[in-house]
């Protein structure tokens, strides 16, 4: 069995796989943030809470209505997106024209509300959600063992991220979004309902977060805090990669997950901090971030 500095290859690949999984979530959440930031020019602090809601709604669908994972993948994002649309219409839209830091503060408040509510309703530290039957078990790849569900997570997140990129770059709807991002007044002068576009975009970004939450439910524990810790890391990912490009968000998210996984092999305690250290290095060397436009 191959070894690297006394660590068996299987352990390394195991950690890399875990890193790739984490990276999937970093990527999905960064893409969601980038989509929302691109059009609304606010950083959605509630993104972590909406991810957590996605996981909770899937749990609730199963626990109260007997609706399983595959339906949850479709329903949970829709349900959470509706909530997101309400938040945008009732709260966020009133901030247009103000400094975008107010948007950060507002969505922080929303995150606190969502998290606090769920912590009160479900005071246990975590709720179980089992891997769907079809995805249990795994494949023996020789150099490592790949659990089916984890492979599914990587494929699903990659698909969602690329689909988002395609929608934005290659479709008519995406053209409207890119135009609204650049010059919303002119787009309005063509008769396009820009506020509605903005609302739908926020809903879409939120749906992405909730989708990630459903994917997360069987592997990370469903708990009210699951989003809070993740969102801070995602912010660091976004500082490194910038919020200006979808591709940048995807590449940065997956890469950082891999790097984090690799670091865990050699230094398990420091691993959650690796990304912050990389952020510090990027700030020193290339302050504008790797892909994004300078703010």
């Amino acid at each position: 069995m191959a070894e690297l500095i006394g660590i068996p290859a299987q352990a390394i690949f195991g950690q890399l796989l875990l890193g790739l999984i984490n990276g999937s979530f970093y990527a999905m959440l960064s893409v969601g943030l980038a989509v929302i930031f691109g059009l609304l020019n606010i950083t959605n602090f509630a993104h972590g809470a909406q991810y957590m809601l996605g996981a909770f709604v899937s749990w609730m669908l199963l626990h109260y209505l007997g609706i399983g994972y595959w339906w949850a993948l479709l329903l949970a994002p829709i349900i959470v997106a509706v909530l997101g649309i309400l938040i945008e219409r009732l709260l966020i839209s009133h901030l247009s024209g103000l400094d975008h830091l107010y948007g950060f503060l507002l969505t922080f408040g929303v995150a606190l509300i969502i998290q606090g509510l769920l912590r009160n309703l479900y005071p246990v530290s975590s709720l179980p959600y089992s891997i769907p039957q079809a995805l249990t078990g795994g494949q023996n790849l020789g150099f490592m063992f790949l659990p089916n569900y984890r492979g599914w997570v990587i494929i699903a997140s990659l698909t969602m991220c690329i689909a988002t990129w395609v929608i934005i770059e290659k479709t008519n709807l995406g053209a409207y979004l890119r135009a609204a991002n650049e010059n919303p007044t002119m787009l309005g002068a063509f008769g396009v309902d820009v506020p509605r576009l903005v609302t739908l975009t926020y809903g879409f970004g939120v749906a992405l977060a909730a989708f990630a939450g459903v994917l997360a439910a069987p592997i990370y524990s469903v708990s009210p805090n699951m989003g809070a810790d993740l969102i801070v890391v995602v912010f660091a990912v976004v500082v490194i990669g910038g919020m200006g490009s979808i591709i940048g968000a995807i590449v940065t998210g997956f890469s950082l997950g891999l790097i984090e996984g690799f670091a865990k092999v050699f230094y398990p305690q420091g691993s959650s901090v690796v990304i912050f250290v990389i952020m510090a290095i990027v700030l020193l060397i290339k302050p504008a971030g790797l892909f994004g436009r300078t703010v």
Partner: protein, 246 residues
Amino acid sequence: MTDAAVAFNPLAGRPPLLNVADLEAWYGESHVLHGVAFDVRPGEVVTLLGRNGAGKTTTLRAIMGIIQKRRGSVRFRDLETIKAPTRVIARSGIALCPEERAIFSSLSVQENLMLPPTIAPGGLSLDRIFALFPNLKERLGTPGTKLSGGEQQMLAIARILRTGAKFLLLDEPTEGLAPVIVQQIGNAIAALKREGFTVLLVEQNFRFASSVADRHFVVEQGKVIDVIPNEQIGTSSAKLQAYLGV
């Protein structure tokens, strides 16, 4: 409007497509329009002439609803639009080609061209548009940023022709362009007029304006101070030179 102006205007009998009265507008605290008044008849090409800063672009933006702080009356097809949002005004059949052209740089020429939604039947077909502006057909895949000034201008005009809006607001379409392109744009405007479009043109170049327009309104310090039918442009050149400081 003077009686002389009315008498010489062959379209004088028809009700106006656009009637602007007592139009006032503010940029923040700054009072920019002080009671603009003029009208545009269906099928006419009308220009707003004036110096820089006279308020011509502001008038277009006020008509379009882009300037929110405005007062007075803007009646389009006999409907009051002074309080309407931009989106609604656009959908009632007015389209703007702004001075800065506002080509979306993150979109290709084709995407820019197809972007404005169809708001009414009767827009020009793509074939007709390419007949007016052949250069655009070759540059469809080019990103918006890589066009020359003339191509950008043509695209900015072309994209609003598709939508079915029959009343066009063109803000200084010939500014900074080579004579050959200016000619092309002049021909295009003449062709559009024949097809039944109504055009409100803002221009500083009154020679170009007189080659396409029926009437000219002179704007100074946020008010319309004179109207000159196109037939009288030749005899009014001294007056015009005084107005425009040329």
